[in-house]
């Protein structure tokens, strides 16, 4: 190791500065993404059309928001498995209150659509806050506490409507998942906006930096005056809210709420976050990296579908490729930081 005293901290070449600012780790998946896109173009000429690419982005917009939520929690060294059940539960609760016809599985209450949107978000935040209470205050093991919450919410979602799918939802309730702005779906705008905002907050705001400090060394963070418990708790609540928003967008996209909405999504959330460089041990990773993870998964899903692999095999291929990308990032991702 060469120690050099700092003479002039600024004033290097522009391009080098950019690369070092991104620390390369965030770009590790780019070659893999490009490879996947080449493969897609070969497999099916319709892959590289604007429609298909927008389609990919829209399809992974909900996943990408969940990945933000989970990344925030992972950064403080915590864990939340229940996010995917919030994706199903909150829209279902609201839809159930909206649908006036009890024979279709509704409550008969006839809730206003705008109020319902607010309800979805508030419910998500409350559930997240409760998770935070279990993990931060009661110090329950995060894995098992949020697993129990996952099962509880999943069961409640099905129980509420006896497993039925709810249709005929008001347009305002579906807007976020179905409308387009300037030819691009609103959900893509929202996801992009959230990545921008949270990316900046994590980089340039005290609270964002506090998450890294907490995940890296909670004891040292506490001694340095960071309110560790309060921030961690807040992150759980925020993650619940984001998961509920993702659920609302998913509902809008398919114009209904299925009892199984969000099911199994959590595996892809973790896969995207981890191959994107978010450390499961906390304190490390960037949203930009997580976003490349999401996009890679989205492209793979699309390519595998287009390539007409038998549907039964898609998941296996998917799993194999995730493993492969993990191995690739291990070999290419760690080294540049020592430069």
């Amino acid at each position: 190791m060469v120690d050099v005293a700092i003479a002039a901290p600024r004033g290097r070449g522009k391009s080098r500065a950019w690369v070092s600012r991104l620390q390369l780790r965030e770009l590790v998946l780019l070659p893999v993404i490009i490879l996947a896109m080449i493969a897609g173009a070969i497999v099916n000429p319709s892959f590289l059309t604007a429609d298909n690419l927008i389609n990919i982005l829209q399809q992974c917009s909900e996943l990408s928001i969940l990945v933000i939520a989970e990344s925030l929690i992972l950064m403080c060294g915590m864990f939340d498995l229940s996010l995917e059940s919030i994706v199903g539960f909150c829209p279902m609760l609201a839809a159930w209150l909206i649908v006036a016809d009890t024979t279709e599985g509704g409550s008969g209450f006839g809730l206003n659509g705008f109020v319902a949107i607010a309800l979805v978000l508030v419910a998500g935040a409350v559930i997240g806050a409760f998770n935070g209470f279990l993990v931060v205050r009661l110090k329950l093991n995060a894995f098992i506490a949020t697993l129990a919450m996952l099962i509880l919410l999943r069961g409640t979602t099905i129980g509420m409507t006896n497993g039925r799918t709810l249709f005929d939802l008001p347009p305002e309730f579906l807007y976020l998942g179905s409308a387009t702005w300037f030819g691009i779906p609103v959900s893509i705008w929202i996801a992009g906006f959230l990545y921008l905002i949270f990316g900046l907050l994590l980089r340039y705001h005290r609270l964002g930096r506090a998450l890294y400090a907490i995940g890296g060394n909670p004891e040292a963070a506490r001694i340095a005056g960071i309110p560790v418990e309060r921030i961690t708790w807040g992150v759980f609540a925020l993650a619940g809210l984001l998961a509920a928003l993702a659920g609302l967008m998913l509902t809008g996209r398919i114009a209904s709420v299925v009892a199984s909405q969000g099911q199994n999504l959590i595996f892809y959330v973790f896969a995207a976050a981890v191959i994107g460089g978010i450390s499961l041990n906390g304190g490390q990773g960037r949203l930009l990296g997580a976003l490349t993870g999401v996009i890679l998964l989205g492209i793979l899903q699309n390519v595998l579908t287009l390539s007409q692999i038998a549907a039964f095999w898609i998941d296996a291929a998917y799993g194999a490729i995730i493993l492969l990308s993990l191995i690739v990032t291990r070999f290419t991702g760690e080294a540049p930081r020592r430069a």
Binding site: A5, I6, P9, Y204, R209, A220, I223
Partner: protein, 505 residues
């Protein structure tokens, strides 16, 4: 009864022929370029109780690690009970010969006492399965034979410190070890428990068990040990029966000849006016009682004491990390207090974050509105600190974990100074850094003092205490003595170790 158990246990030697339970010859050990043990030769006769003393960093832990087979010597020979030491990897052979009861818990909290005693050597029934009833009965019988009073069905997590020690001693004896090393066994014990421990040690000694006893409490050594081995800077400097070693001579051996003369105490500034920090009638739980002192602006006071004396808790109370009774007050209500915690790895650095962020983590509110951090302002502040403290790093963005220990410690000092504090609380601020960094750190402290900060150094390191204008000594939660400029290291060490009254009575 006792002898039957002893003979039934596996023996390292075929008879009781070996005269020495432990013998080392010219044992040395280096870590990289630093040599922590030099040619240490000593021997402990069977049935002896030997005190092993030395100040922090004297090489005690390394020596213990070598004679218990956790570490190989760079040179030299270790003999146990007359036989050459087993190969380093042969844990079972080591365990049959020597055991160390550490301060940290090595019992498994989720198993019962009986299971812990027979871990991995449980008595089995005819089917080769664990015989639970026999396990319990054997454990009960064994404990009773040694006069060790613990219920074998008790969950280990529910043991008191005293009971835990008993279990660890029992386990070592069961595995066949007749040489026990006790590392600071009384640190967490109350007076009554200490006496019971000593009774137990004497009892076991009569059965032929040899003890090596490591303690900072010198008065205990005189109570329980027959002989003493003193290490200083990796050298064996004294090895004698305690009868030939009065307390003064022992302290002298620990501190070294150079310290015989009083150090040139630093010249502090005489200041009048309100104290920068007032501590009055401070009490923290049952740990600290009746602690009162003032710190003047520009003054540096040392708070010296053993680990567990309550000294660190006082520091934590001052910066608001701990509940307390009594009064802690700065000159003005809003005065900032800078803090350097003990153990930078555990409690100090934020390892993945950059040096810039580590320096400025306590003052991020000053880098922009609504909690936003302007990287330019943050970097400006950080680079000013880096320059004034002489921190050596490749860039401000380098993760702090990649810096050398001395530079990490300077970083923590910079963090404490970043808020322009009126009071600095430093806990062992130069621990684990090289000489040059140590000097640099002292320079930083002196500069802060000159700028009017009141400094409290909490430590038992003589070099750190030497820069203080005065030193208060805390022993078992109470301030026992104060030293002004005219002081020498021996008196401070004696007071830290609780010898104060005998020395001056």
């Amino acid at each position: 009864m006792v002898s039957s158990v002893l003979s039934s246990a596996p023996r390292a030697t075929d008879g009781a022929a070996a005269a020495f339970a432990l013998k080392t010859e010219k044992v040395s050990r280096s870590f990289g370029p630093t040599r922590v043990l030099h040619d240490v030769s000593f021997s402990v006769p069977v049935g002896d109780s030997r005190a092993l003393v030395g100040r922090n960093g004297a090489g005690k832990s390394t020596l213990v690690a070598i004679v218990t087979g956790m570490l190989s010597p760079s040179a030299g020979v270790v003999e146990l009970a007359g036989l050459p030491a087993p190969a380093l990897g042969d844990r079972a052979a080591w365990r049959e010969r020597v055991a160390c009861v550490y301060q940290r818990w090595t019992v498994i909290p989720t198993l019962t006492v009986a299971e812990n005693l027979y871990l991995n050597s449980q008595p089995r029934n005819r089917l080769g399965l664990i015989g639970w009833n026999r396990l319990r009965e054997q454990a009960r019988a064994t404990l009773a034979e040694w006069g060790l009073d613990v219920e074998p069905d008790l969950m280990a997590s529910r043991l008191t410190v005293e009971q835990r020690q008993i279990v660890e001693i029992g386990r070592a004896l069961l595995q066949g070890s007749r040489l026990l090393i006790l590392d600071e066994p009384t640190a967490e014990l109350e007076r009554r428990e200490v006496h019971r421990l000593f009774d137990r040690i004497r009892h076991l000694q009569q059965s032929g068990v040899t003890f090596i006893y490591i303690s900072h409490h010198l008065e205990e050594i005189y109570e329980i040990c027959r002989s003493v081995t003193v290490l200083r800077d990796g050298l064996l400097v004294a090895d004698a029966p305690l009868g030939d070693m009065p307390k003064g001579a022992l302290v002298q051996a620990m501190v070294g000849a150079a310290a015989g003369a009083a150090r040139a105490a630093p010249v502090g500034r005489e200041t009048v006016g309100p104290a920068a920090l007032t501590v009055k009638d401070l009490a923290i739980g049952t740990l600290v009682q009746d602690v009162s002192f003032n710190l003047q602006p520009g003054e540096c006071m040392g708070l010296a004491g053993l680990a567990g004396s309550g000294k660190e808790e006082i520091g934590e109370a001052i910066i608001g990390l701990r509940r307390y009774k009594g009064l802690i007050q700065t000159a003005q209500p809003g005065d900032r207090i800078g803090y350097v915690p003990r153990d930078r790895h555990e409690r100090g650095i934020l390892p993945q974050l950059s040096i810039a962020e580590n320096l400025t983590v306590t003052v991020t509110d000053s880098f922009g509105r609504f909690g936003f951090i302007s990287p330019r302002r943050q970097n400006d502040r950080a680079s000013a600190l880096v320059r004034s403290l002489g921190i050596v790093s490749a860039s401000l963005k380098q993760p702090i974990s990649e810096l050398s220990g001395g530079n990490q410690q300077k970083g923590l000092m910079g963090r404490a100074l970043a808020s322009a504090p009126k009071v600095l609380v430093l806990v062992s601020p130069t621990q684990g850094v090289d000489i040059a960094s140590k000097e640099a750190l002292f320079g930083i402290v002196a500069k802060a003092q000159a700028e009017g900060a009141a400094v409290l150094i909490i430590s038992d390191d003589l070099d750190e205490l030497a820069v203080c204008d005065r030193v208060q000594v805390i022993f078992r939660g109470r301030l026992t003595r104060q030293f002004g400029r005219d002081r020498n290291d021996e008196d401070i060490v004696a007071a830290i170790e609780g010898l104060e009254e005998e020395q001056h009575g």
